[in-house]
């Protein structure tokens, strides 16, 4: 008998993670250590080369400013986070709906896809002033920019996932009399879930960028606006403190979606013995 199955559920790739000390050290400890090294390098460089504060403040000055102005930084971080998440949710809904529509039929795919690419190639920075003109200053342009920048990867991934259902499987189901809708529901959509979740990581990063870009172009609140105000008040360490907060937020958002992806589509990461 040559039929041996991989018994016991021990799959190659991601298995049930045992969160032990080693794992913590590797996944959390080493990046932190590396970041610390970079910060020390930053500090040393500034001091050694006597870089003026208006060009690049020292790491220590930046963190001091981060602490001193923590209240106003926190308030604005919340605003940026909120506009990012709202824009992101809009992008998910739109990306899903349009993605299903586009991936449904090859003809729709061929017609709509090139237009989508053209649309997506327009730098959203150029669109922000138009949005401000239409919707005034406030959260709306920031949310819309976040949405416009981030829905496209979701759409593409969902559409591609749907459009690549194996023809044989489709034949098997259609031979049984299944309608296209049934094939989509039972096969197409579950199959494209990994693609969908994978695109979330990209999309949320883009949504974040979109929100901050809109803020720097003239919204009323948020970390982007804070950076502009700090610059005008000649508080350069605050500018860099805001930058650090932005990068930390970015990591957190990315990690959150990566976790979601693992949770809901763990099955897709196991290798298939075809």
């Amino acid at each position: 008998m040559t039929d041996t199955s991989i018994a016991g559920g021990q799959a190659p790739g991601i298995s049930a993670k045992r969160v032990n000390l080693w794992w913590l050290a590797e996944k959390v400890g080493s990046p932190l250590l590396f970041a610390l090294v970079l910060l020390l390098l930053w500090e040393a460089l500034c001091r050694l080369l006597s870089v003026p504060e208006v060009i690049l403040p020292t790491a220590s000055a930046t963190f001091a400013a981060l602490w001193e102005f923590r209240a106003v930084i926190f308030q604005n971080a919340v605003v940026t986070l909120w506009t990012t998440l709202v824009g992101f949710c809009l992008a998910i809904v739109t990306g899903l709906v349009l993605g299903v529509a586009v991936g449904w039929h090859r003809a729709v795919y061929s017609a709509v896809y090139p237009i989508m690419i053209a649309f997506n190639s327009v730098p959203k920075v150029a669109v922000v002033p138009v949005l401000i003109l239409w919707f005034g200053l406030g959260a709306v342009p920031a949310i819309l920019t976040a949405f416009l920048i981030s829905f496209f990867p979701i759409l593409v991934n969902v559409a591609t996932g749907l459009a690549t259902v194996e023809p044989e499987l489709e034949d098997v189901l259609r031979a049984l009399g299944a309608s296209k809708m049934t094939v989509m529901k039972k096969v197409g959509i579950p199959r494209s879930l990994p693609h969908f979740f994978g695109s979330l990581k990209i999309a949320i990063t883009l949504a974040f960028i979109g929100a901050v870009v809109a803020e720097t172009s003239g919204a009323s609140n948020g970390l982007g606006k804070l950076m502009l105000d700090a610059q005008a008040a000649f508080q350069v360490p605050v500018v860099f403190a805001a930058l650090i907060v932005l990068s930390v937020l970015g990591i957190l958002l990315y990690a959150a979606t990566a976790f979601l992806e693992y949770r809901y589509t763990g099955w897709a990461h196991r290798s298939n013995n075809a």
């Binding site: 039929d3 559920g9 034949d171 031979a175 049984l176 009399g177 099955w267 196991r270």
Partner: protein
């Protein structure tokens, strides 16, 4: 002149699956032309031929997935105009859905085909029992809860067969189902399908490039020509059933295989590489 059509014999008595002078083209590309064959009810038919001869097209025609431009196809005496739910299909690629357990996978047709679709919720236990029975028939007892990625290729293909048969179809279409498996597994699965056929009595059309497989399993072998495909030869396999695997090493068996092989070789030589109808 190479065509030795014995179509007249089949036309006398209408079979379970009837293809009568069927022609199908995709644009200017003619897949099959004047294809005539007839399979009796409960018969195990094998279709062999050179690659590209239209065997897969035959699959699609018989199941109603494509409609021919010429000729007629009938199943159980009724003309085929759309997919029929009394068919089960299995391809070389098992195509099991990775997010479902093996059991849920083989029960998939029950969610699509009436009357099972409507009865599934209320009679779930009954259907699960049926699925478990299928699994044990093919030697996968106890593997229902496993995911496809936990099964080897051979086991996935067995599950694929279960899925093709769960809704008790009267016609089973197999398209080179054992092509990707190693020699031992293949022989094992020959036994499985042979026994299933004997036990359940459905009609089988097996498309394969393996002549030994065809002769071992089938009651009748159809040899197709190169594209555009048509039937060159029908050969009854009169080896006694049940057939143990050693029969493949006997002289009568190999004579038949040899004969078929020659026919195909001539068909490949004779036909031009592309033929416009």
């Amino acid at each position: 002149m190479q065509a030795a059509q014995t179509a007249s014999a089949s036309r006398e008595r209408p079979g379970f699956v009837d293809l009568d002078r069927v022609g199908l083209s995709y644009g200017t590309f003619t897949a099959v032309d004047e294809l005539t064959l007839s399979v009796r009810k409960g018969e195990f038919a094998a279709v062999v031929g050179p690659s590209g001869c239209g065997k897969s097209t035959l699959m699609k025609l018989a199941t109603g997935l494509v409609i021919p431009q010429h000729g007629q196809i009938a199943v159980e005496g009724k003309r085929v105009t759309r997919p029929l739910s009394i068919v089960g299909m299995a391809f070389q690629n098992p195509s099991l859905l990775p997010w479902r357990t093996t059991l849920d996978n083989i029960m998939l047709p029950l969610e699509i085909v009436s009357p099972h679709k409507e009865r599934l919720k209320s009679h779930r236990d009954e259907y699960v029992a049926r699925a478990e029975k299928m699994l044990s028939l093919v030697g996968l007892e106890g593997f229902g809860t496993k995911y496809p990625w936990q099964l080897s290729g051979g086991m996935q293909q067995r599950a694929n067969l279960c899925r093709a048969l769960i809704h008790e179809p009267s016609l089973l279409m197999l398209d080179e189902p054992f092509g990707a498996l190693d020699a031992f597994t293949r022989e094992e699965l020959w036994g499985v399908i042979r026994d299933l056929h004997r036990a359940e009595g459905f009609t089988v059309i097996l498309v394969t490039h393996d002549l030994r497989e065809a002769v071992y399993l089938a009651d009748r072998v159809f040899v197709m020509s190169a594209r555009p495909g048509r039937v060159l030869l029908e050969r009854e396999i009169d080896i006694e059933r049940p057939r143990p695997i050693d029969v493949t090493y006997t002289a009568p068996f190999n004579e038949i295989v040899h004969e078929l092989r020659e026919t195909i070789a001539q068909a490949r030589v004779g036909a031009p590489s592309s033929q416009m109808a």
